[in-house]
């Protein structure tokens, strides 16, 4: 029953531009004030404050292998590192093994961008600063794909991008927490003040946690800063936004 309700929520999500990426509509996220940051989280998630956001639209699901392959075919861009992996490369699973530049190039091909951290949080937390896309209820296996080991089952790593409807956001976006970390377009820096020189302008932020994340990293506010050139991540993917910024 819950599954049926959640499925209806997807169908009811407002599609902003069905033509951008086939099978992965852009879902409108309205503008307005929302809670950003988390005073209860790590130091780099603070301070919690109110942001006046502009409307934007975000892919309903993480970009899949099938969608990424179409981009590769159209552009000649390099394939994802795990493109031929028997489990990670499944067509309807999120593409992994892509660098920041790979993800950025994919979005640009469709006239889109990677989300900013603010856009990600607005999509994943709503306006009131919920812990998770579904609200403040604790995470469980029906809502997010997380906490798995790398060894040795093999086919229980990523979940299909269009899965876990009980974990959908209010606007119907799926897997914003868990499944794969998602690149954002922001450099890693404190929310207030300057980044130290050894960090400033060097790292991009990923959000949302992944299939192997422990609960400490599985939140809508956890910030993962990583070398943007790293393209071997078996748990790093992305989705795109149409953004006014």
């Amino acid at each position: 029953m819950l599954l049926a309700v959640a499925s209806l929520m997807w169908a009811g999500a407002a599609a902003a531009d069905d033509d951008a990426i086939a099978d992965n509509p852009l879902v409108e996220i309205p503008g307005g004030p929302f809670v950003f940051g988390n005073d209860m989280g790590n130091e780099n998630e603070r301070p919690q404050h109110i942001v006046e956001g502009q409307a934007f639209a975000m892919n309903q699901t993480e970009i899949t292998n099938a969608q990424y392959r179409r981009f590769v075919t159209a552009t000649g861009h390099r394939t994802a590192f795990y493109d031929r992996h028997p489990a990670l490369g499944l067509a309807d699973h999120p593409v992994v093994g892509v660098s920041f530049a790979d993800a950025e190039a994919f979005c640009a091909h469709y006239g889109l961008k990677l989300p900013s951290e603010q856009e990600y949080e607005r999509a994943a937390r709503g306006t009131q600063g919920a812990r998770f896309p579904w609200g403040d209820a604790p995470v469980d296996a029906a809502r997010a794909n997380y906490g798995r080991d790398t060894c040795c089952g093999g086919d229980d790593i990523t979940a299909p991008a269009r899965s876990l409807p009980q974990g959908a956001s209010k606007e119907g976006l799926l897997n914003l927490v868990g499944n794969v970390w998602e690149w954002t377009r922001d450099f890693y820096a404190p929310y207030s003040g300057e980044a130290p020189p050894e960090i400033g302008g060097k790292y991009r932020v990923l959000r949302g946690g992944a299939w192997n994340s422990d609960p400490a990293r599985l939140s809508a506010t956890y910030r993962l800063a990583y070398d943007p050139d790293f393209r071997f991540a078996a748990n790093g993917g992305f989705r795109c936004v149409r953004s006014p910024d």
Partner: protein
């Protein structure tokens, strides 16, 4: 086997592009490289005057005769890509009586499991004649001593000991995870590794050699494959121990360890891992390590994705690479290894 925090890479043996340059030998040696197009070479062994080599590309065993020809023999064994994305198949082969012993890797991901997977097998010129034991996860290397078989299981992070008939199996040793300080990983991610805590990674035993009543094992070190995080350890061949003795440290992904006719220990380093481009071409090395002094010398540099090393009668060596190359290192005069 909890993964490292943050992003992770899965594969140990991801196949990469060819090396860019010829390997460079120490003074007193010369190098010859031969290639079998399309091959993914792994295990090496001697068979009289011939060389045996396993090919993960087609699951076959090959005999390379002195005229340079490769001839397939034995059964076509399961091969392909395993669930981690690594090539799997017959990892190692050794002549054993009238037949051969083969260490057969993890089940290819696109096939149903059968009795020959993740197993020690006896084969003859045409077929598998006996499954010695298939209760392994990923048997990567083995050695025979008297009637005992010692098998390194790269996925189980252990060394297993059993009778050659497959019975009497015991776990000789299970390797704990290795650790590193967070600072050494800060360049990868300041949020995950930018403090003084220790982070663990799998030991990943790979090569195995018997010497002086001890079992020597190369610990490759799992992701993020930090330079210098690999080591060679040894265990008593008989009985049980709770501590592995560290014989050499600071190694770059050691994938095999052997002893030559002069009882010198040779270590084959797979290479260095770059977080943006993967295993660096031409970064593998063959080292000679003095067990007493700890002094090490580079015999061969500039290897690309090497996996096995075999001493030859003439004081030289042959090394297999995943790009289908065999690299022969031959002595041309008094050895003068460079440091």
């Amino acid at each position: 086997m909890r993964a490292l925090a943050g992003l992770i890479a899965l594969s140990l043996m991801m196949v990469a592009a060819d090396g860019l340059a010829e390997p460079k030998a120490a003074p007193g040696y010369e190098v010859e490289t031969v290639q079998k197009p399309g091959a993914i070479f792994a295990g090496l062994a001697r068979d009289g005057d011939a060389l045996l080599v396993t090919d993960l590309a087609d699951g076959r065993l090959y005999r390379r005769t002195q005229d340079g020809r490769f001839t397939a023999f034995g059964p076509a064994l399961p091969h392909g890509t395993d669930v981690m994305g690594d090539p799997t198949g017959p990892y190692r082969v050794e002549r054993h009586g009238k037949g051969y012993l083969v260490a057969q890797g993890w089940t290819p991901a696109d096939r149903n499991e059968d009795a020959n997977d993740h197993a020690m097998l006896e084969v003859d010129e045409r077929a598998v004649t006996k499954v010695v034991n298939n209760d392994f996860w990923n048997p990567y290397d083995f050695a025979v001593s008297n009637d005992m078989l010692f098998v390194v299981d790269a996925a189980r992070n252990s060394v297993e000991r059993l009778l050659l008939n497959g019975g009497g199996r015991t776990q000789l040793f299970a390797f704990a995870r290795l650790s590193t300080r967070g600072q050494s990983l800060t360049a990868l991610s300041p949020t995950e590794f930018g403090d003084t805590r220790k982070y663990e990674f799998d030991a990943v035993p790979t090569g195995l050699a018997m010497h002086g009543g001890r079992v020597y094992v190369s610990l490759f070190g799992g992701f993020p494959f930090l330079a210098g995080s690999g080591r060679i350890v040894s265990l008593p061949q008989a009985g049980q121990t709770s501590i592995a003795r560290i014989e050499a440290g600071g190694l770059n992904a050691p994938v095999d360890v052997v002893f030559d006719a002069t009882e010198e220990m040779l270590v084959l380093e797979h290479g260095t891992f770059d977080q943006s481009s993967g295993w660096a071409s031409d970064s593998g090395r063959l080292l000679e390590v003095d067990l007493v002094s700890g002094k090490r010398q580079v015999l061969l540099d500039g290897l690309t994705r090497p996996v096995d090393v075999l001493p030859l009668d003439n004081g030289g060596f042959v090394i297999s690479q995943l790009d289908g190359k065999l690299v022969f290192l031959r002595q041309t005069g008094p050895a003068q290894p460079h440091p």
